[in-house]
Symmetry: C2
Subunit: 367 residues, 2 copies
């Protein structure tokens, strides 16, 4: 297993990741503590899709002490947004709502240009503009949310040089696996990604405690931020980390270059029907066998999708699992349920995305 922000090779073993990255599990105690702030424990937390953290409890302490709490997350605009991207943003919005936190949302157009030699600057700009609509459509509080792109908001480079002065090539190489043939832009990029950890503090000249909700593969960036923070006299950012959101192929493979394995946010109901119909399941080859032997929800992508987000009802999801195992439930039922849930979700999202077109200026952070 090999994890950098640019590639995940091999099967993912989350126990190993926890150990390798030195992060901690989200415990039931933490979830209990959250009930002090909200009656609604988000499905992504209940199901432990957001499964790990670093100093999340310290961030909660800061919140309780009245220290300014900030959220920071991001998006690399190298394609159209799909469900896998959206899930962590939905969770970020949840945190924003619970903690009334300011959110900085970084679009790493520079990074995507630097790692995709086949893409033009225009390609990246098109995806950037497109993706920003999806970000806004999540429904972040417009008064508390600032979206920016690294190529269009110069403060990020200004902060990045302060960070970069403290990061040697040797450290960056060890953390991100750079080689002699890495380009000098991507070698510098970790400083650009670290910069928003200190943006509020620098813009406002005030203390703040930043929490970064993101997929676990982004965690190496925050180690850099955490190393540098004390040197710049800022507080170290905390993190809360999700598992990888599965695709629709066998073993949950998902890839933008194989569009049939992803549900894009622009997909039509017909697209969704077809993709879910063709998704990899844990069912038996025939109805007869399914009824005799039962299916295997543990390897079933359709079940996973219901579990990780689309079936909010804990009892219902347990029922589905149990019925599948004993052969009482057939794949068609699950596919139909999931298709319905996703189509509903996308219709709502697409409506909000249309409205987002008039709200871009409101959200964009300007120099």
């Amino acid at each position: 297993m090999h994890i950098t922000p640019w590639e995940v090779r091999g099967e993912v073993n989350y126990d190993e990741i926890i150990k390798e990255f030195g992060v901690e599990l989200i415990t039931d105690d933490i979830i209990e503590r959250l009930k002090k702030y909200t009656n609604n424990i988000h499905v992504l937390l209940r199901r432990k899709i957001f499964f790990a953290h670093r100093e999340f409890e310290d961030w909660l302490d800061s919140f309780e002490k009245g220290i300014k709490v900030i959220l920071y997350t991001g998006r690399g605009p190298s394609g159209y947004t799909h469900l896998g991207h959206l899930i962590p943003w939905i969770f970020t919005k949840y945190l924003q709502d619970v903690f009334k936190a300011d959110l900085y949302f970084q679009v790493t157009d520079d990074e995507k240009f630097l790692i995709h030699p086949e893409m033009s600057m225009e390609d990246i700009e098109n995806f950037t503009n497109d993706n920003i609509l999806d970000i806004i459509a999540v429904g972040f509080d417009p008064e508390r949310t600032k979206i920016f792109t690294n190529l269009n908001y110069k403060e990020i480079y200004r902060i990045a040089v302060r960070i970069a002065r403290h990061i040697t090539f040797s450290t960056a190489k060890a953390t991100f696996g750079f080689t002699e043939s890495s380009n000098i832009g991507i070698i510098f990029f970790p400083a650009m990604q670290a910069a928003p950890c200190f943006l509020y503090q620098i813009l406002e000249g005030k203390d703040a405690h930043v929490l970064i909700p993101c997929a676990i593969d982004q965690e190496p960036y925050w180690r850099i931020s955490r190393d540098v923070a004390p040197k710049l006299r800022f507080r170290k950012p905390a993190g809360i980390y999700s598992k990888f959101i599965p695709g629709l192929g066998a073993n949950g493979k998902m890839s933008t270059s194989h569009p049939e394995t992803c549900i894009f946010l622009k997909d039509s109901p017909e697209d969704v029907k077809r993709k879910i119909w063709n998704a990899f399941t844990g069912g038996q080859p025939t109805l007869k066998e399914q009824k005799e032997k039962g299916g295997n929800p543990n390897i079933c992508v359709v079940y996973w999708y219901l579990y990780f987000y689309f079936e909010d009802d804990d009892k219902k999801v347990e029922e589905i699992y149990n019925e599948c195992i004993i052969g009482k439930r057939i794949c068609g039922e699950c596919k139909e349920l999931l298709t319905k849930k996703i189509i509903e979700f996308l219709i709502e999202h697409q409506k909000r995305r249309e409205k987002a077109k008039d709200m871009v200026e409101k959200y964009l952070l300007k120099d």
Copy 2:
């Protein structure tokens, strides 16, 4: 001998540099050709202080063909400006006047912050604001000159990522001597310095031929720009290169950390008198010996200063040389002459610098 933009170690052998860098000498033929465009061949050319070039003749060809010609030079704001910095700018202004060329003037505040761990961002900003006044005081055509700093003009980072995508760590290491302990900001910086080579072309969407007047130690940067130019479908920049401007110490040593070896542009007449009085000369220890044996102008810093810029009259400078050698001239005379010339020069510069305070907005390039 070891030359990178950040250090010159050992004695400088210009023949070796020519060979090592693969640049060409400024020949008398080139100087003859310039007489087509101007009756005034600048003293820095006549004396071959600007001694080498790369494709300067091609740039002249472009000028003759009516292709847009552009000048690009820069300043690293890590201290107050001294005469050694100003000399190439004066020559750049000369080229601007002769060829009616647009000039982009880059202030590399990012670079100086990245290589000076002892300096704060505020230090760099103070020197930046101060140095810009000296740049403007040179008298560049305000209609054709745009000054910008890398931390304040975001287009540079935008262009730099396009360049950086084509430069591997291995290439940057070979060219600039980076090591494992170089910081990731300075590793990226060559792309920032290369960016203005393509600024006009990108801003205007038109072809242009860029000429870079600078000290020879900056030449490695333009090799990078030249390698990348065809990949971005731009013309390769040409260069015209000066020798290092000597300081006032023995062997022409000059260092901002030893202020007595530099004439700063803020120096008072008293400062100039004292510094020139204490400058290293080729004179004999006593007046008697000077008259008997003659002096050695070849190692005399005072003579160098008269030669490289301050005595414009070719006959006069030859006379000084000849009189010194045969002991007819004593050091006091040369020191007095140089002191007078420098004080006159500084008084004029300082007047223009005062006026520059109201002209900053006119010159600054904005996003």
